[in-house]
Subunit: 254 residues, 2 copies
């Protein structure tokens, strides 16, 4: 029989609702223990940005937002709350498209996503919005250091959000921050099954990890904001997720 390397994706249950100032690594370790997971060197810990954003205080109270004229105008076009649109505009470096109830933005990080990542789900109720962490790679680095300190393990950390995309319906979990992993796997120069040298193949490993974890990380009421991936072989070179961003002049759709 062949030697088969199984990969396991284990939801981290029992993580409580985070509040500003919480240590995300502690919240995760608490869930890891409750879930009976044996966290080991080389595991990948996947964390929903909502947990990170809350701990980092990236919550906006709608009551405290005064919408600009531009936001009021866009709110009419998109059917959104003007204060929600104002928050989107504050988190956007550029607006790319408007339509079908969404504002496709380039965020200050350079990510292209709907509504600049500003979300009303899991924000804490109707009166609040949640925004992306200021520097998700730095957040991932902090969580990774925290897990090393708390559990003595060297893991990779991937921070995710659930985003729609052009051409295809439905959102998929993608990576917005990472630490302890090379987000891209460059296969160029390696050979295919028939010995032909691959010329253009680069795989976005962290987006595949994010999507895989998305299968066990619910966003609805049973919400599970973290998962542990075991048994994955990956390049441990520490390269930030912001390197995934395709430069505008190499992008055919911006």
């Amino acid at each position: 029989m062949l030697r088969v390397d199984r990969m396991e994706i284990i939801p981290v249950l029992g993580i409580g609702l985070a509040k500003e100032g919480d240590d995300v690594a502690e919240l995760i370790m608490d869930g890891v223990k409750k879930s009976g997971i044996n966290l080991e060197d080389g595991d990948v810990v996947v964390v929903a940005h909502s947990l990170v954003s809350k701990a980092e205080g990236k919550i906006v109270k709608l009551d405290e937002v005064t919408p600009s004229h531009h936001a009021i105008h866009l709110a009419k076009a998109t059917g959104k709350d003007p204060r929600h649109v104002e928050t989107v505009l504050r988190n956007a470096a550029k607006i790319l498209r408007i339509g079908h109830g969404v504002i496709i933005c380039e965020t200050h990080h350079g990510f292209v996503c709907a509504n600049a990542g500003v979300d009303a789900s899991n924000s804490g109720g109707e009166a609040f919005l949640i925004t992306l962490p200021d520097d998700p790679d730095e957040s991932a680095h902090r969580i990774r250091s925290g897990l090393r300190r708390l559990a003595g393990v060297d893991v990779a950390v991937v921070i995710t959000d659930s985003w729609g995309r052009p051409f295809r319906k439905g959102a998929v979990n993608v990576a917005i921050g990472c630490s302890g992993i090379n987000p891209l796997l460059d296969l160029r120069g390696r050979k295919d099954l028939y010995g032909r040298v691959l010329r253009s193949k680069i795989i976005c490993v962290v987006d595949q990890i994010a999507a895989a974890a998305g299968l066990v990380m619910g966003e609805a009421d049973e919400g599970t904001p973290a998962a542990v991936v075991k048994g994955l072989q990956y390049d441990k070179t520490n390269i930030p997720a912001r390197t995934i961003i395709r430069e505008e002049d190499e992008d055919l759709f911006r």
Copy 2:
């Protein structure tokens, strides 16, 4: 301790190189046995389209392709072999963008991807190209029926390809065909962690499954054209993957 549902992703090793007329379900069952995998009801079998395409004879001999004037012109613009470009054009219903060495097409199925899914990797050598199956949902259905017949199991089948996308570098595995599964999970109406009703959340489950399997299904010389996902809860309603395609008038980037 909490009850944790682990998900496992197991590469199917030992599948030989496929040739036209091969029964894909037989090839997969052969690998499943060699890999010591216990295929069970409810598992998801993920298959790279290259295996399916080869068995379905979707291989193009470059020698037999006569490029049109249009193909010769585009070949100069993209640095590709004119016969490769001709094959792309024959597999495209529409060209959306040209640049950076790729021709972004809408395929006859309606998928938007680079080079209409025509690939020189794993095609059988420099003299060949591989194209997408004519009807990947039907291919998935046939494989699923074959696995039921051969192994007496009721599984879901997802057929994948590895595609680049706008805004983000690197390819990810996506679903181009499926059977025995609802590709989209509609969470609208369910409540978030704080009891707020989700208004817009639809998850593309099969793309997340494809990406997860992509982590163990290498494209380089160690190539593993199939994987088995165990322990995933999914909606078994049989809906084709073509329903993932975002209609042009709902797409902000076409």
